[in-house]
Amino acid sequence: MSEILLDVQHLTHVFRLDKHAVIKAVDDVSFQMKKGEILGLVGESGSGKSTVARCIMNVYKPTGGKILYRDIDIGDKAQLRKHRKMLESLRQIIFQDSTSSLNQRMTVADIIAEPMSIHRMRPARGSLRAEAEFQLSYVGMDASYLDKYPTELSGGQRQRVAIARALSMEPELLVADEPIASLDVSIQAQIINLLRHCNREHGCSILFIAHDLSMVEYLCDRVGVMYRGRLVEIAPTAELYANPRHPYTKALLSAIPIPDPIAERSRKRIDFDEVSFDRDGVLTRIAADHFVLMQEEV
């Protein structure tokens, strides 16, 4: 179980806006994922979570650092070329913005079957259409949606099509960028159960990016917290939620909304003082598997 599947080393990604301005979206981020692990990535909006996800998927070319997937350096042109096909079928991503990531001119059936047909996979259920129908039923939609176009679906239905498409490949690594935010809680529960099933039964490793911290707590083995491009804390889930150490993590966990009107309206939040944020710290081990961004001790 402890085999390393993904090794992100000092990942940095900078967007150049114009001649003068750049945004350091990801700044010296390092973490590893074990095979079969579900790692949660949470944090501020705009802290670089999606950028990390896209670097891992070769959508963006990192400005600095290194990403190893099963010891393949995916930033290395020659290695990438050699393993491209394999990498494309082993890693799947559910993009945060599912609407714009779905091809508007394709029907639901074609969208779901496309990766299988690109990789010439033999459909286990006879035809690609039957396969698409099967995957769709897994996300709680019936065959009547197969011939619809994305514009004819509700937000949550489009999202589920994106999920079905990614899962149809039975990936080894699934990067799920906000996969459930647009779904109702009962379907959320259904998708979470499905992800757990893929993880437990098929050994699929999952990088789960989400703002819903109670769902992250329920699903993930470990959780990393990002703020302004930096990974500020990473620890096993129970440890992080019981014993958050970085001030931003504390603020974030204190802001989890409670589904109880009287309790929620009177809930006190811990504020985080952005001015105090020290982005030059080092990720330091404070307990087994628990790391926090801290000033280096001299």
Partner: protein, 337 residues
Amino acid sequence: MEELLKIEKLSVGIHSPMGKVQAVRDVSFALHPGELLAIVGESGCGKSMLCKTIMKLLPKSAKIEGGRIIANGVDITDYSDKDMRKLRGKLFSMIFQDPMTALNPTVPIGKQIAEAILIHEPKLPKEEVYHRVIGLMELVGIPQPHQRYKLYPYNFSGGMRQRSIMAIALAAKPKILIADEPTTALDVTIQAQILDLLKEIRTKLGTATILVSHDLGVVARCADRVAIMYAGKIVEIGTAEEVYYDPRHPYTWGLMQSLPALNRGAKELKTIPGMPPTLIDPTVGDAFACRNEYALEIDYHEQPPMFKITDTHYAATWLLDPRAPKVVPPIGGRGHV
């Protein structure tokens, strides 16, 4: 108090090659100044269609088939797009579910906010417009607004795009704000800030708000009243306290039982069995019947009416009929979550 918005028995159908989709069925509610009504419901049950119907932004294939929309005392059910254009922004404003399609990808964010201001105040001098845009960007929490003024939507993170949309929606200080999942893309600290911002706007400007959300924590924080929707219909409506502490509809029970907070340590989260109906065939009986473990015989051939529980609390389930067997709700009471 006079209501700002009144929806009466509204029904909307969408024509599709496979038949007519009954997206909104017989929906009624009223909204008072400064009030926040949250709409919660199954994915695909017609929440966005309901919002778009009120804003008159329906796709061409969709049609209002019955009922009335009364805004600020005026019946706008038959208003044309041109009539509506005068009302959008000032009387109504809408924050859409999908931030990427709500923004124009080819126009810088700052300019898009400026355009929203200029529609209503075309003669405003340039510097004043710029000033207001920066003010709005600060209001919704976009850091470095001067630098970000010229950036395009694709340069923004999901959360930041949502805040830009908020700024556009608030540009003309609307009386009624319809927010379709405005905070789903935001982290919880910023989410709390935006919700507090919504609250502040309500008290400051008396804006009445319809908030569509799946997040029962978010709804608990800011809703005065909550409506639960299923298959195009409102199946339960009441004050937040009533719906959270004394839910009466089995669908509401199912939703609440799916929350991770109620499933700690469980191997699987509890879900509602079965699939939601596709809304294409007109349903005989209660649309929820086949997924409802508490369904009665009558649910399969007759739709339940809205039963009154209190002056503010109503639910459409036959379980509330005096002849129905007594059922102990699986959840309810304070502090069950």
